[in-house]
């Protein structure tokens, strides 16, 4: 089987594309960093890829709200190819700003079955400002509730760094949460005693009901080498400093899905 092709989609202000593409390649994928403008010019380009990844950064400066403009571009100009992509047996991943883009475009939480979103139906969930009101860079511990996400297979808990200002999940009503729970869409949850941003139900990541689309605020591509862990110098005996980090598993799972 040929290496699955990964489209790492970058827009003005995207800034985690290089390391994200690097780890997809390292895991056996074949990643291309493609500018949004190019995809807008030739939407059919998306058909050549099995994995779509929207990496972290500050697309369009987060000037109106994180992910808003990038999301609007996907919704208004690429609705057809994205709809096609979501209904096929393909994978999509949004990390940090990429998660915000997936939410603001409304690819998440519904995935293919809710695409394209109807303009007259307002969103019922969002990613908004951290409760502490500021950008926060730190490591977080998460658990993985039972969910269908392809990316999280075999992971029950994970530590990753986060770095964001608008990472708090907020919902319009409790029914939304209940629906996510029923459909097992809560993919990652912060330690309830150490919720870094005030996210409702401690949610750090959401998947669509099929498990093929995942969005998460923390950065798995920033824990691909053991030396990225904040305590690697304290645990040399148990964790080889030359080894890999726990974040690699998400990317490997995605690549192996097509193996």
């Amino acid at each position: 089987m040929a290496a699955p092709r990964v489209l790492v989609l970058r827009a003005p202000g995207t800034n985690c594309d290089v390391e994200t593409a690097w780890i997809f390649d390292r895991c056996g994928g074949q990643a291309d960093r493609v500018h949004l403008y190019r995809l807008l010019e030739s939407p059919e380009l998306l058909r050549d890829y099995q994995i779509l990844c929207i990496p972290g950064g500050f697309s369009y400066g987060d000037d109106v709200g994180a992910g808003v403009i990038f999301g609007a571009q996907l919704r208004s100009h690429l609705a057809d190819v994205i709809g096609e992509f979501l209904t096929e047996d393909k994978l999509a991943l949004g990390i940090c700003n990429g998660f915000q883009v997936l939410m603001k475009s409304r690819i998440l939480p519904g995935g293919g079955e809710a695409w394209p979103p109807k303009a007259e139906e307002p969103a019922d969930a969002t990613l908004t400002w951290n409760v502490n009101g500021r950008y926060t860079c730190r490591w977080v511990k998460m658990t993985v509730p039972e969910n269908p996400s392809v990316f999280l297979r075999g992971i029950t808990e994970i530590e990753l760094p986060m770095a964001h200002a608008e990472g708090r999940i907020a919902v319009a009503s409790d029914e939304v949460l209940a629906r996510w729970r029923t459909r097992r869409q809560i993919a990652l949850a912060y330690d309830p005693n150490d919720n870094p941003n005030g996210s409702v139900a401690h949610i750090a990541g959401l998947c669509d009901p099929t498990g093929r689309v995942l969005g998460l605020m923390p950065h798995p591509e920033r824990f691909i080498q053991a030396t990225q862990h904040p305590q690697w110098t304290r645990r040399r005996e148990t964790h080889d400093p030359a080894g890999e980090g726990a974040g690699v598993k998400l990317f490997r799972n995605a690549v192996e899905y097509f193996g």
């Binding site: 972290g56 860079c137 030396t227």
Partner: protein, 970 residues
């Protein structure tokens, strides 16, 4: 139609902005303000009806899950104050409005016929708030006059149009007939800030040409000759005298800092690892077979004094463009920042007129650095903050950037016939006179005089430029590049075309709005612009690449072979000056420098049984305390290269000595970044201050595992007015130490910068003119290398039972120490360095680390041994049992206070397993090494003194709390 789309947090939600304003009002004691509400709004002008305005608000601008939306036509007539007293804050016309610049194309893209957008922030205060207090809020809290305007009540704006028509008129300055008094006046009123001798030189140059200069020519000379751009004082002739020396320098920098590097390179011979130093925008050294690494550190002090957010924002944006404009362009991999502020507890009534409160400055500067660095996707990995009253009117903001450049791309060459291409942001009226303004002293009127020198950056524009430049570099699409910094096109083109000549077509530069004169275009320091030299045959491909990424690239002229700088506007010549006159015509600055050492004052130690309280107060002092509130606002993980983070330890909150990063994910070779600075020592002797700064920067690098034979350093002199011989004298003395210590340590200076005239003048209440000069502030930044990042060590204790050793010699050096500071003690001897022994100590520590013998290592700095042990303990969540007797015997000191708190240089505490102890002792044979005690599971720091009496016994939780409390801001 003009619409206002107003967005508020839902009533049940959290209005962060309003809360922040309210707490600042409380801090200022504005007690009549009890209620604040805020909204953000967008002013949208175009062919848009109400239903469209509502739709664009709902669809794009508001997040209706957490916000509500209101749309109203402008001008608004409502005068009701039922909701409270309303203030609208808008950026002044012409100031970069990043939000609006993003929204306008997004709305057009969504199909709305919109022709202008502005962003606005709104605040409502309780109706009965005191008008005088509201006035203070509007000038001190919600807006900064330098860039914003506050409109009370309903918005009565009728149009968003900015700019005006420009009718070309060539302006000449009738200089030929001017008297000396006229010339002096012209220099001052025209904000040229040139000396009379320099003005006379310009006058005679144009007399020889038989004409008067145009305004553009005069500005070009002023910018090129400014202190900021030419560093004329430090490169000038200086006659220095002190208690022992009498030296005539022809070029101060060349004979001190540069000379050290030259000597080291010569000594290294074939092993010389400097690649390009003191030549380009950043210094370049060898990293591995394929890549070199470069670094630059800049200051942005005066803009940050007037508008902390914008000043720091553009300070960082500017220094990132330096490596990007080095060689054929380098890829930025990390940022550093060092700030000097006045203590945040200054009473508002004690602020001189025109000075922002240090809290406002601190918050603004931190936010400015945060928003630029994070958006650029460059991790901010290292920094420091120093507090001293003398930074009140004149804070210091140092920003640094490290970048990688492929081997072979470190030089550039412009040829006649190549296009001069401007890339990136558009040119506006912002930043006019930044170069000359930064070379002048600040006064309380600076705000009104130099408002144009204050700007807001747009990091996304710069990120787009960066993306394009690195691709174009690898495709070989340009032959030379430099950044548009201070002096704008004038400086960039003038430097690039120095050897060839250049002709510039000013009307071609893309403008933010109409109405700029040719001179304004030429000297504007609008941000995010680079200037490239592109051959004719590559131009189409280059333009295509830029277009594909949405970056504007415009030909604004051609390099020529005339060795003249020719400026044209719509075909008419508005400037024509010989490059030689610009770059070589400035009369040398000749200065006297004197230094008289202050009289020796003995420091009398206070009587003490226990030192718990001294230690807690040192840990809780502003320079030592935790900077976590700042650090966590910076993304220090992006690019995935993080190895040793700024905060380390069991709970990720201990103070790391230096950052280690892996610049290439495929390799385990790493970079180490650290800094050293201690303005307090300068009050005793600037020579030892500089020596200590270098020692601190180097030992920070060595403490985490850097190879001491591969550490490059950078100097950054921030001083007061060096026209005073004693001020320049203290600078010369520091420069002499730079030369001596760099040579002894084998650490070459690779780049540097100076910022002089850091003084603030005002009239006090009694009408007396007062001037506050900053303390002599030399920042030394260090760029180290570590062959294998997995060898790195951190400063947190690892395991109970391990042995602790002190490396290095302790002397009675409490002068300028933090023990003296918290106890208000004067006098004492300032720490010195042992030029012979220090390099051997560094080499031994490095060897022990790379041999895997050291479990934790921390350098000794402010607070000496006691503070270092405390930090290692609470970072590692472990205690320590310490006995000072071995150490005391080794250094021949009896006094426990001296052993605990002296700040002698070149010292470390290392943690070693019992098994490794013998090998460590062997490695340090002949070097000062003293066993201190052990790491303990009991979470207390216990220290026994020379008489075996307990001197310190404090729980690590109390130590950590004291250390965390001062800057734990919300």
């Amino acid at each position: 139609m003009l619409w206002e789309v107003e967005i508020q947090t839902r009533p049940e939600g959290l209005d962060r902005e309003a809360q922040g304003v309210l707490s600042q009002c409380q801090a200022l004691g504005l007690s009549s303000i009890r209620n604040v509400r805020s909204a953000r709004s967008f002013l949208v002008q175009g062919d848009v009806d109400r239903s469209q305005a509502e739709r664009l608000g709902r669809g794009l601008l508001a997040d209706l899950v957490v916000e509500t939306l209101q749309v109203r036509p402008l001008p608004s007539t409502g005068t009701s104050t039922a909701d409270g007293q309303l203030f609208n804050v808008l950026l002044k016309p012409g100031v970069t409005d990043n939000v609006a610049a993003t929204v306008l194309p997004a709305l057009r893209d969504a199909g709305y016929s919109v022709d202008a957008v502005r962003s606005c922030q709104k605040y409502w205060f309780n109706v009965d708030a005191d008008p005088a207090e509201l006035k203070r809020v509007s000038s001190k809290v919600i807006a900064n006059d330098a860039i914003q305007q506050v409109l009370p009540g309903a918005l009565s704006i009728t149009s968003l149009d900015v700019g005006s028509d420009y009718g070309f008129r060539k302006i000449t300055v009738p200089m030929a007939a001017m008297t000396d008094a006229d010339l002096t006046r012209l220099s001052k009123e025209g904000q040229l800030y040139l000396s009379l001798r320099e003005m006379q030189t310009i006058q005679s140059y144009f007399r020889e040409q038989g004409r008067d200069p145009t305004d553009a020519e005069l500005e070009t000379v002023a910018q090129t000759w400014s202190e900021h751009c030419s560093h004329k004082t430090l490169r000038g002739r200086v006659h220095y005298r002190d208690e022992a020396r009498d030296i005539q320098f022809e070029n101060l920098l060349k004979e001190t800092v540069f000379a050290a590097t030259a000597e080291i390179r010569e000594r290294l011979g074939a092993d010389d690892w400097c690649v390009s130093v003191f030549r380009d925008n950043a210094g370049v050294v060898r990293f591995d077979e394929t890549q070199n690494v470069c670094m630059k550190v800049e200051t942005h002090n005066h803009p940050s004094a007037l508008e902390p957010y914008g000043g720091a924002n553009t300070g960082l944006g500017g220094v990132i463009r330096d490596p990007l404009g080095t060689g054929l362009g380098a890829r930025p991999i990390c940022n550093t920042d060092v700030f000097c502020f006045a203590p945040p507890d200054v009473a508002d009534k004690d602020l001189p007129p025109g000075v922002l409160h240090p809290r406002v400055v601190t918050r603004g500067v931190v936010s400015g650095v945060r928003d630029y660095g994070n958006r650029m996707g460059i991790p901010t990995v290292n920094g420091a903050v120093f507090f001293d009253e003398r930074y009140l009117g004149n804070p210091l903001v140092y920003c640094g950037n490290v970048a990688m450049i492929p081997v072979g791309m470190e030089s550039k060459h412009v040829s006649p016939g190549e296009y001069i291409v401007a890339v990136g942001g558009r040119t506006g009226r912002d930043g006019i006179h930044g170069a000359t303004f930064s070379s002048a002293e600040l006064t309380q009127e600076s705000e009104t005089l130099s408002g144009g020198a204050v700007q807001i950056g747009n990091a996304i524009t710069e990120k787009m430029v960066l993306d394009v430049i690195l691709q174009a570099r690898d495709l070989g699409l340009f032959t030379a590049i430099t950044d548009c910094g201070a002096g704008g096109f004038s400086s960039a083109v003038g430097e690039m075309g120095e050897e060839t000549g250049a002709e510039v077509w000013l009307e071609r530069a893309p403008l933010k709005y109409d109405g700029l004169s040719y001179t304004e275009i030429w000297i504007s320091e609008a941000q995010e612009r680079m200037v490239l030299s592109v051959t004719e045959d590559k131009m189409a491909e280059f333009e295509q690449l830029c277009q594909a990424e949405g970056v504007e690239a415009t030909i604004i002229g051609k390099f020529t072979d005339t060795k003249r700088l020719v400026l044209k506007y719509q075909g008419q010549e508005v400037g024509n000056v010989a490059m030689e006159f610009l770059h070589e015509g400035r009369p040398p600055v000749v200065r006297n420098a004197e230094y008289a050492p202050p009289a020796d004052v003995t420091l009398s130690l206070p009587a003490r049984n226990r030192c718990d309280d001294d230690l807690l107060r040192i840990l809780g002092s502003l320079n030592v305390c935790s900077k976590e509130w700042i650090i966590r606002q910076y993304d220090f993980e992006v690019q995935a290269g993080s190895v040793v983070k700024p905060l380390v330890g069991a709970k990720n909150d201990g103070p790391s000595d230096a950052a280690v990063i892996r610049p290439n994910l495929d390799s385990s070779r790493g970079l180490v970044v650290a800094n050293g600075m201690n303005p307090r020592f300068g009050d005793f002797d600037p020579y030892w201050m500089a020596a200590s700064a270098i020692d601190e920067a180097v030992r920070n690098c060595v403490a985490v595992g850097a190879d001491p034979s591969r550490i490059a350093i950078l100097d950054n002199f921030c001083w007061g007015n060096t026209e005073r011989p004693e001020t320049l004298g203290s600078l010369v003395r520091a420069a002499l130490a730079c030369r001596d210590v760099a040579v002894a340590y084998g650490t070459p200076f690779i780049s540097g910068k100076d910022s002089l005239n850091n003084e603030f003048s005002y009239q006090d209440a009694a009408g007396h003119r007062r001037t506050v000069a900053i303390p002599a502030s030399l920042l030394v930044s260090a760029l180290g290398q570590i062959p294998n990042v997995t060898d790195a060590v951190t400063m947190d204790f690892k395991d109970a039972g391990n042995l602790l050793f002190l490396v290095g010699q302790t002397h009675d050096e409490l002068g300028g120490s933090h023990f003296a500071l918290v106890n208000g003690l004067a006098g004492g001897r300032v720490p010195r360095v042992d030029l012979g022994k220090a390099p051997r100590i560094f080499a031994a520590v490095s060897q022990a680390i790379s041999a895997g013998l050291i479990r934790s290592c921390h350098d000794l700095s402010e607070g000496g041994l006691a503070a270092a042990l405390a930090e290692m303990a609470f970072a590692g969540d472990l205690g320590a049992e310490i006995d000072l007797r071995v150490m005391g015997a080794r250094c021949g000191l009896e006094e426990d206070l001296t052993l605990l708190f002296s700040e002698s240089n070149t010292r470390f505490v290392i943690e070693v397993t019992q098994a490794a102890a013998a090998r460590v002792r062997e490695l340090f044979a002949g070097l000062p090494l003293a066993e201190l005690g052990t790491v303990s599971a009991l979470p207390r720091l216990v220290v026994r003194g020379m008489t075996n009496a307990t001197r310190i016994d404090v729980g690590i939780a109390d130590l950590k709390n004291a250390w965390k409390a001062p800057l734990d801001w919300n």
